[in-house]
Symmetry: C2
DNA sequence: CTGAAAGCGCTAACAT
DNA sequence: ATGTTAGCGCTTTCAG
């Protein structure tokens, strides 16, 4: 426009600025900012003070071009309704940051193609990737392994895919739920699952059903909620409880679903909990402790799961991705409160 | 180790691989992958098929070195307890992605230094930044503007900092709450705020108190919860309600706090809501609709706020950062349910 | 221990 | 419309 240069992006201060200021070479500057390099104390001092003066910070992108490391970890997430995932994100970012890694998060909950999203994330040269979205496919896994990008499937159990997985033992969790119901005398049991496609819904139901059958009981009614939300839980509960009025217990695939079920039972149907109807949730979110719900639920050790995930990623990033595949199923535990 | 090259990071396929495969120059490949470049149909065809065959994807990092654009937007977040922020993150990532931008999220809830975190994010050459964490400081803002990185403060109102802000009009929201209480005959009002340092807590209380005083009332009791959580709400409510047993209404700075307050009132103190005690929340999270709470609350237009934030960022990223500063305060609305 | 030089993968003038 | 040439900001041999 005018003669004044219109720097849309004002120029950052670069290593060469620092080098000039300190009267040394560019490589000297680089060495000072490279952990394991050999620099004399005097050199380090000179460079550091020049850098400080100019407020210099190495450009990670440029660095990554040589080092092939970005310290970026892609997180592909589909579940933006379950409060558990806010906790998960909190833990992920915290653990990653403490290892000097950063989270590049990608939302695929609007029905985006997971494989395509993963590719876009890979274009940033991520050092690792965690997928907490339903669809895991072998092509995706292959692509990552071809590029040497460690990948872990978080909180899902892909059936035939060869990939690292960190997940709660949902099947055992389902069995645990069944046993708790049975021990307390409940016999007419129903199940409210999540969207049909999810592995979590599948395994929780499977374990629950199996344990029931081992005790000579059968699962009387089953319905899949359209989402893992309170409202979907209400809708599902309304349908299940009216079509199976004889039910005396309902196992819900997550806590939000359980809240919806409880409210339908109490306020629409006038049932008392746990007297007329026993309820069990899954996850143990913060509000499960609320007096209004006091939900008995199956807790997954989210903290440990996230830590493990980041550990696996971190280990592979630093030691190479040729370690054996790991499938970690974390044991769940029963948290007894007042709905059973 | 052996003679076999141990490619920790298997080599990606690069533009030059594609060029060789297609029998053209590297720049030709680059042009095909650059939106506004002039390439013949035949060339495009040749390159595209070679790229497809090799499964080539341009390296964003390398590209950014020349273009000075990364399509990365840093999101600095402190609030990983309020479910509202999961929704916000959902909206942010969705809107950003639809503009071809990606979210680099940084967690500062563990007491990390916001300025230092922002600098780390900037090392990735982010094209923009949104800060949804308490501490906004002029140095940080200056640093961004020096580097031409558009910045918006989201859901907070820094007092003396010259920065773009997108925030709910918390003060008006507080007034709205006060008026609702007054109209319904409540006269002995208390307030439960969030952590003292937050601008949201400050403005919500300010508006509430002012509107009360304009009507000749005074705010009888005030307490700041230690966090915006259910448990903190319980603790605060317990303290406030026992020290001020005459209160007939409590305005809570967010919905989780309100849930805690309701449960203490109902289950510890045996009060009926809204008969003995009226409760008002803030945010309108999903569970506010739950039968167990049916919370009357002040809704902030989160969807619009996020959209605006991304629009501002997007506009500045494409048109340069020399647009006038914008301070947008979004009107809140009263959502009437059953606690008032 | 330090500097010079090459190059990471890509884009952007500049020629043709 | 296409290829050639120079870098972007940094790391990393390689000499000395």
């Amino acid at each position: 426009m005018t003669e004044i240069e219109k720097n849309a992006r004002a120029q950052r201060v670069t290593a060469s600025d620092v080098a000039r200021e300190a009267g040394v070479s560019i490589s000297a500057v680089s060495r000072v900012f490279t952990p394991g390099a050999s620099v004399s104390a005097r050199m380090r001092e000179k460079v550091l003070s020049a850098a400080e003066k100019l407020d210099y910070r190495p450009n990670v992108m440029a660095r990554s071009l040589m080092t092939q490391r970005t310290a970026l970890v892609g997180i592909i997430l589909a579940n933006f309704h379950n409060p558990l995932y806010l906790t998960a994100l909190d833990l992920f970012t915290t653990h990653l940051q403490s290892r000097g890694l950063r989270a590049l998060v990608f939302n695929v909950s609007r029905g985006d193609d997971v494989v395509e999203s993963a590719r876009q994330v890979m274009q940033y040269g991520v050092d690792g990737m965690v997928i907490a979205a339903a669809a895991m496919s072998q092509p995706l896994v292959d692509q990552c392994s071809r590029q040497g990008i460690p990948l872990v499937a978080f909180a899902r159990q892909p059936r035939r895919t060869r990939v690292n997985v960190v997940c709660a033992d949902n099947e055992a969790g389902g069995r645990l739920a069944a046993r708790a119901f049975i021990e307390r005398g409940y016999r007419q049991l129903g199940y409210i699952g999540g969207p049909a496609a999810t592995s979590t819904a599948y395994f929780r139901e499977k374990g629950f059903r199996q344990a029931l059958e081992e005790s000579g009981l059968t699962l009387l009614g089953t319905i899949n909620a359209s989402a893992y939300t309170y409202d979907a839980g209400r809708a599902a509960a309304e349908s299940l409880l009216t079509s199976h009025p004889n039910l005396d217990g309902v196992f819900c695939a997550n806590d939000l679903l359980a809240f919806g079920t409880m409210d339908v039972a109490r306020y629409r149907l006038g049932l008392s909990i746990p007297g007329d109807l026993g309820i069990m949730g899954f996850d143990d979110i913060e509000l499960a402790t609320a007096d209004s719900y006091q939900l008995t639920t199956i807790r997954q050790p989210l903290q440990d799961m996230v830590k493990q995930t980041v550990d696996i990623l971190g280990q592979r990033i630093s030691e190479g991705d040729d370690l054996p595949l790991r499938k970690l199923l974390f044991p769940c535990s029963l948290v007894e409160r007042a709905t059973l």
